[in-house]
Each structure stands twice: as structure tokens, then as C-alpha cells.
Symmetry: C2
């Protein structure tokens, strides 16, 4: 784990394993979806998002952790499928809530089928996720099953609570959100169902021991925040960064910007960010990017990525160091590097101020 | 059960019991809702619809059936609370899908708080409904618990499928929907979670016998359709009927209208019903009402109400005749009359053509 070994990113073996596990979970998720009437208005819509290429982080973490904890990948595949379905349910409703027109390179579901049917398809994906989860839990010992169920419910509640904060702050154009408020919100909105609970499920299912549920919590926390801030940085740089600002999203960059600016600059940024979606012209977007450059918001987010990646790696070492070597353990030890790599942020690991990631 | 005894509606005792059971289930539902942060953006929104006066049919049917089958009202109260929460989750998403501005006399949730937070609150209510249901199921014997769980999942799937058909037919302005297509759609969209499954849950929980799950199915089917068609007739008459047509909703009246009209009249009705919401002026709404009068659509729906009420009553007799007399049994035997009464349709029980219910 020397920096020199890390720089080129994760090993071929880990990259292959990520792809394999994602593929298996996705297949299980798609197989679980009913293929029956009403097709045109419902069941044809459900596989649309899952089959558009996603990152698959949730199922991969769940299955790899299960294997690292002594189980098999198969033991966790239905849980991984449930997580993937739930993720896609959130995406469908998210896109409606954000008024996004594109998801993974194609038209958002509500753009393609109309809002009413898309909202309903999101409800169906969420219901199917829970149904798959409950079926997976059923054969397990009752204390394990109950712990997993309670964890699932907690995860769903945390996600919805985090989403409420995110949407509410945006609706009210809140300019008083601190970086730590923001990260706490992201831990709920993103980390809980993306990393924290997938790891916890893997640990419990793999070990069969509910007492190990919390072991991976800190790792999941940092890894999930890393994932979110890496997303926040997506497209920021020479050519990018416009989409997020056009959409009026709160990101770590926006939060830092508003916390850093003063006087007229701050008023101007608040005014632009508070405009209705679609009312921010290219000049206004460029002005926010300029203010971000001035305020050092990109460098701030890059520094956060560095710290979160280091913390996640340290926590992974802490949890998995003593485990017998395996490809699953290797994957978990290098997953934070994998996230950086996916987001073109590998160079950010070593402080290089003013050097925006490409 | 002579017509003379039925005409004045249900007994005071039954009306009181309906109120009591609804109240108990509502209290359990509200108590289950978290009262914590984030309040303003989430948890303050959840009790809004439940506390606006509703009919409470679902919890009442569930608890009364449980008692009639040998259990206590308390045995079913958490199941009834889960049903009530799920119903309110559906209402929140429904109102967004239909673009409704008012629900139970106040602003719809998305009008009051904006679409993103309302959609999220609907997700929270659905998640809470499932959580309450799972908690209620947990102490039961595993075969009973599993049957109830599968029934819940089937109910949710049926409701979402029915909703997909309803929304899809409206989106595509389908003019080829037959009365029997329509009633089959309503059985899924409305009857399954309003009557069929509440009765089935009550029967299984009250008896402790999963073999009795299907006994009430036909009763639930007819009662649920009665409930839907009675809703379709709401406000139709001298002063009413405009709202549904303005919203472009498919109702039994609309389905009958399109199946009956021919030539230019039909083309005109199809054109008016296919307009964007908000594009139907008072003249166009009045024209549809006139065509409905011409086509006999109101009388047709009233005849359907008569048939469905008679069938529901016959099925209730069939199921509960042999049960020992009790206030719960009395309620179930007269609940179809209660539905008619609530909708001002008691007079419709005896054929009186051209006499629209007030």
C-alpha cells in the first residue's frame, strides 16, 4: 500500500471482481422483476434504469463484505439485488424531484413516460426492493433476520430524512448550511444506503453474527462521504461544472462558496442559486464558477476528498487487516481508490493545490 | 334486513362503532410516526393527510373482521394502522400524479410544501406503513406471518398495477376501455387495499388460521367496486360532476359514455377528455355532462351501484350468516349500506330511473 503502488489505481483483479459482482447482483435484481401485464404502463419501465450502466457500488460492497466475513458471494446476492432495486427507486423519484432530464445518458424516466407513470414505477421498484429483501431474510435465524430488517428500515428512514434536508435546503435556498451540516446530511442521504448498510448487511450475513453489524460503520461513513464529494466534483474543471449549478444543487462546493463569500459577492451567489430551475443563464452559471475559483471551493472539495479517502482507507485497514487475504478483502481495501479512479480524482490523493482533476 | 329497515341507513350502533374503530387505528398510526428532526421538511408533513377527516373504511373493515373471526379489535389495530398509513402514502402520490390541488378540504401536500418534499413524504409514509406492518407480523406464528406478508406484498403490487392502468389510460386518452376492463382495473387500484386485503388480514389474524384468508375475497371485491363507483358518482347531479371531468379522470361514467356514443358526439367527447388538464373550459365540461345525460351514463352508474351493493350484501351474508351475533358482525353485514349512505346513494338501492342521487 505504498503511494507508488496506489497511483495507477486499483488492480486488474479488483476491477474485474467489481464488474463480476455488479453483474451478478444486477442479474438477480432484473430476474426478480415481474414480466407480465401491465407492461407498457408499468413493468416495461422498471428495468430501464437498472440496465443503464451504473456504478454498482452498493451490491459490490455488500457481496464482497459477505465473502470477507466468511460467507460466499451467493449468500449476499439477493440482498445486493434488493439494494440495487432500492437505489433505482430512489433515482426515479430523485429525477422527478430535481427536474432532471437525463439519467445515465438517456432521457429520465418521467421525461420518457410522463411524471405520473414514472412516479408509480418508482413506487413499484421500492416495493420490489423490500419484497426481495424480505424473501432473502426469511430463511435466516430469527435474531439475524430481525437485525437485518431493523437495519433496512433504519437505512430507508435515514435516506428519506437526508433527502428531506437536501430538498428543503434547496427549496428555501438556505445559505446558512455549514460544511459539517452538509456532510451529516450526505451521510444520511447517500452514505447510509450506498456504503454503511451494504457493508453492515455483508458483515452480518457473512459472519452470521449480529454483533458484527457495527464493525464496518466508520469505514462506510467515510467511504460514503468520499463517494458523495467525488460526485460533487464531477465535471468541475476546465469544461465542466455547469450542470450541477444549472440544476441549483447543493454540493460541497456550493456550501463552501456561501460560507466563504461575504458582502455583495455572497448576495449575488445566493440570488443566482435561488433562481427557479431553468432561470440560470450561461452568464450566471459562469459567474458562480468564477466565484468558486475565487473562494477556493474546488480546492476545498479536493482537500475534503483527500481527507475522506485517507480516512476511509485507514478504517478499511482497521477492519480488514486481520482478515485472511482474499480477493474480496483486497477489493475492500482498495475500494476508496476505485472511487477516486472512477471520478478521475486519483491525482487528488497527493496534495497538488490549484491542479484541478480532469 | 328488509328494505324498509335498510332505507334509513345503518344503525346508530354501527355508525358509532365505525367512528370508534377508525379513531383507534388513526391514533395507532399517528403514534407510530416519528416526531423528530427533520420536522419542517419531513416529519411535520406526515400526519397532515391522516389527520384530515377521512372515511377510515380500511382500518374499520380490518378490525371488525378480526373481531368477527374470534379475535379482538386490539389484535388488528396495528395492521389497521399500517393500512391507514399506506392509504395516505398513496393519496400523497396520487395527488401529485393527478395534479389535484385540494385533498379533504385543504391544499394538497405538494401544493402546500412543493412537489419534491411531498413526494418524499409519500415515500416516508409508505416506508412507515411497511415498518408498522412488519412489527405487527413479527410476534405471530411463522406460517401466519408469512401468509400475511405475502398478502401485503400482493396487495401493494395489485394497487400499483391498477394505478398504472388508470394513469396510462388517462395519459393515452384511451377510448377503448370497456366497463369490465374498468371494473377489473378498479378492483386492483382500489378494492385490493381498501376492502379485499383489510378483510383478509382481519380473517387471518382473528382466526389464527391462514386457510380462511380467501373466505372474504368475493365480499371484498364487490364492496371495493361499490366504494369506487360510489366515488365516481360523487357530485354528479344538479350542481356537481364538474370536478372529475375537469380533472379528466376515467370514471365508470366516462367509460360508459365513450362506449355508448357514436359518430361526431363520440369524437367530441374523446377530444374534450383528451385535453391537457386545465384546458377544459366550463363550456366543455357542461357539454360532457350533457352528453352523459343523453347517453344515460349516470343511470348506468346508479344501476351498477345497485347491483354491486346487492352483491356485496349477499356475499357478506354468505360469509357471516353463521357467525355468532356481535356488533362487529352487524357492522360487516351493513357496511355496504354505510357506503351508500356516506355517498348519498341510499335511494339508489331501489330503482328510480332519472332520479339522480343528491
Amino acid at each position: 500500500m505504498t503511494p507508488a503502488a496506489r497511483r495507477p489505481g486499483v488492480s486488474y483483479g479488483t476491477r474485474r471482481l467489481v464488474g463480476e459482482l455488479h453483474e451478478r447482483a444486477l442479474r438477480a435484481a432484473l430476474t426478480s422483476l415481474p414480466s407480465q401485464e401491465p407492461r407498457k404502463y408499468l413493468y416495461d419501465l422498471l428495468p430501464e434504469y437498472p440496465t443503464r450502466a451504473g456504478k454498482g457500488l452498493r451490491p459490490v460492497l455488500c457481496m464482497a463484505t459477505c465473502a470477507a466475513y466468511g460467507g460466499s458471494y451467493s449468500d449476499a446476492v439477493q440482498f445486493a439485488a434488493a439494494l440495487e432495486l432500492l437505489h433505482n427507486a430512489f433515482l426515479v423519484h430523485d429525477d422527478i424531484q430535481d427536474g432532471s432530464s437525463v439519467r445515465r445518458g438517456s432521457a429520465a424516466l418521467h421525461v420518457k413516460h410522463g411524471l405520473p407513470l414514472a412516479l408509480n414505477a418508482g413506487d413499484a421498484l421500492a416495493a420490489q426492493a423490500t419484497a426481495v429483501f424480505l424473501r432473502a431474510v426469511r430463511p435466516l435465524r430469527s435474531n439475524v433476520a430481525n437485525a437485518l430488517l431493523e437495519g433496512w428500515e433504519r437505512m430507508v428512514a435515514q435516506t428519506i430524512e437526508g433527502q428531506a434536508l437536501d430538498l428543503g435546503w434547496q427549496r428555501d435556498n438556505r445559505a446558512d448550511v455549514s460544511t459539517s451540516d452538509y456532510l451529516a446530511m450526505c451521510a444520511r442521504k447517500t452514505a447510509w444506503y450506498t456504503t454503511i448498510q451494504p457493508l453492515a448487511i455483508g458483515a452480518v450475513v457473512g459472519s452470521g453474527d449480529v454483533g458484527r453489524e457495527a464493525e464496518t460503520f466508520r469505514f462506510g461513513w467515510y467511504l460514503g462521504l468520499l463517494f458523495q464529494v467525488a460526485n460533487d466534483l464531477d465535471g468541475i474543471g476546465a469544461a465542466g461544472g455547469k450542470d450541477e449549478i444549472e440544476e441549483g444543487k447543493r454540493t460541497l462546493l456550493v456550501v463552501h462558496l456561501l460560507a466563504t463569500l461575504t458582502g455583495d459577492d455572497r448576495d449575488e451567489a445566493v440570488r443566482i442559486l435561488g433562481l427557479e430551475r431553468g432561470a440560470r443563464g450561461p452568464g450566471e452559471v459562469a459567474r458562480v464558477l468564477e466565484l468558486m475559483e475565487q473562494a477556493g471551493s474546488v480546492r476545498h472539495a479536493q482537500a475534503a476528498v483527500r481527507e475522506l479517502a485517507a480516512a476511509a482507507r485507514a478504517e478499511a485497514d482497521q477492519v480488514f487487516r486481520a482478515f485472511p487475504p482474499s480477493e474480496a478483502r483486497e477489493l475492500l481495501l482498495s475500494i476508496s481508490t476505485y472511487v477516486l479512479e472512477r471520478h478521475g480524482l486519483l491525482d487528488v490523493e497527493t496534495p497538488e493545490p490549484r491542479q484541478a482533476a480532469s
